[in-house]
Amino acid sequence: MNSKRTNPVIIIVLTLFSLACLIPFWLVLMISLADEDWVTVHGYSFWPGKFSLVAYQYLIEDAEKILRAYGVSALVTITGVVVSLFVTSAMAYALSRKEFPLRGALSLYILITMLFSGGLLPWYLVYTRFLHVQDTLMALIIPGLIGGFNVIIMRTFFTNSIPPSLIDSSQIDGAGEFRTYFSIILPLSLPVMATIGLFTTVSYWNDWFTSLVFIQNEKLFSLQYLLTKTLMNASFLQTIANKAYSSTAQVTTPLESIRMAMAMIAIGPLVLVFPFLQKYFVKGLTVGAVKG
């Protein structure tokens, strides 16, 4: 690389690109902070002429639904990620052992799941008619527990980064497979566990589709599904905003800013942790880009 300085044109283009990625979030934030009367006249803007925190007050007064949805999302995400990491890594470990006689058969078994799917209807019927998990948290957890691609990434990691002699020597010392897996493999696999764990966390946290398909009971709405309902269904939005101020009926409920305030409450935690997670994401992408 000959020149030490970056071409200013590139910096300008990249700055514009970054702004394009950030500005939409800014718009949502500003709508959530805008005064309802001002918005009704002027519309959504990047800098509302009049600010107001009323939307957030509404949400705090009537926080029950949102807190519950946060709880459902957190519970599903934590359980899902922990169980998923265990199941995925255990299967990947078995596959990584060259002498394991079922290695070929299991690889094929995984590959087929990546190539062919039965489609939505049979999948739906298996969950509702066979497992009978509709309207339970299990319906939100089970579908995300295993993915062929993640198993293959982990298997590749185990094969490349854990010397077979290490496994041999632990077994000569009398450790069984379980002991080897728990006290040798897992501690050495933190990088890949962190990467896959983060990706699984994001997909559980962001999931709304399984709720859309399987959940009717309002008490089991996850955060993303509550948001889906609030976005698409004006009367559902009204029920979110209802309780606290219904007695002082004169004031118009700032529905539009409440909607966007809800979005901000969901985005908030992600934006706060993102800078810390970002290095893992980039590392994970690189892992993901290298085929197993």
Binding site: T6, A94, M114, F116, E177
Partner: protein, 309 residues
């Protein structure tokens, strides 16, 4: 027991612990992937819940006849293919361009900052994307109508009711959400290029532009080709979230926004037409499978080590 002896001979018994470790994964895949595969025969049945899945009547290809008799089949196939093709072309071109630019940034802090921001949209949920689109396109209050169209004296658009705008809107949204991710994957490939190539090129007096066109692009071409071929294998699968959330599931713009995935969902859970849902679903699976296998054959011809299987 004799069978146990047989197992011992094959060495299975010796590896029973490994089998136990793999078992939860095997069972989950059975439930999540294999049992539904057996359900593909539902496409040839007139499913009704009182007779049960097994008791329902076989009707041959009637579900497919019905699907293709309506105009729906052609519309959803056309939409799915056209969207995926344009997403693929635009995303690849922009992502490579972005990766090349990111690679030029020398300042470490700036480089980190740009990478973080362009990839941020990838990690938010499609629901939030739906909110953002709504913020811009809300017919009465949205930013585009109020602050772009009105000041120029243009008529405000009722976006969620006008089908013709959506190919552009969805393409922009898809690019916004996905291009940073692809760019970082390509950037990782660029960073992995041996620096000796560039050193040699500099000695020969190659400019930055020459280095980019004669070294970087040829060396990352294989990964671009592979990512493209893999995407072609998925060309019959639409991103349900994008087409459901960004459009707010508006029925008035179906002409340009209905894709196979949203169609199957609607047939199954909104209108309850399981026949259409299963025939469209099977069509998708079969074409998808054929495409993946064909593409893999091509990849194997191009570069063996990059083939999926």
């Amino acid at each position: 027991m004799a069978s146990e002896k047989g197992l011992k001979r094959k060495g299975f018994w010796k590896y029973r612990a490994l089998i136990v470790l793999a078992l939860p994964g095997v069972l989950l895949m059975l439930i999540n992937n294999y049992l539904p595969m057996f359900g593909i025969f539902l496409a040839f049945k007139d499913l009704n819940y009182t007779d049960g899945i097994w008791g329902s009547k076989w009707i041959g290809l009637d579900n497919f006849k019905f699907l293709f008799a309506s105009n729906d089949a052609w519309v959803i196939i056309r939409n799915t293919l056209l969207y995926n093709i344009s997403f693929l072309v635009i995303n690849t071109l922009l992502a490579v361009l972005l990766a090349l630019m990111l690679n030029e940034v020398k300042n470490k802090f700036a480089s980190k900052f740009f990478q973080s921001t362009v990839i941020l949209p990838n990690f938010i949920s499609m629901v939030i994307v739906g909110y953002i689109v709504y913020g811009f396109l809300n017919p009465e209050l949205g930013f585009v109508n109020k602050f772009i169209l009105e000041p120029f004296g243009l008529e405000p658009n009722n976006w969620y009711a006008e089908a013709r705008h959506w190919p552009y809107i969805l393409t922009i949204v898809n690019t916004w959400k996905g291009v940073g991710y692809s760019a970082v994957v390509y950037l990782a490939a660029i960073v992995g290029i041996d620096s000796e190539y560039y050193e040699a090129a500099v000695i020969d007096g190659a400019s930055r532009w020459k280095q980019m066109t004669k070294i970087t692009i040829p060396l990352i071409a294989p990964i671009i080709i592979i990512m493209t071929l893999l995407a072609i294998g998925r060309i019959f699968n639409a991103d349900f979230g994008l087409f459901y959330q960004a459009t707010m599931a508006s029925g008035m713009i179906k002409e340009t926004t209905e894709v196979i995935d949203t169609y199957v969902y609607n047939a199954l859970l909104v209108t309850g037409d399981t026949g259409l849902a299963s025939s469209a679903g099977l069509l998708q699976s079969v074409v998808g499978f054929t495409l993946v296998v064909t593409v893999n054959l091509i990849v194997r011809k191009v570069s063996k080590e990059n083939a999926l299987f």
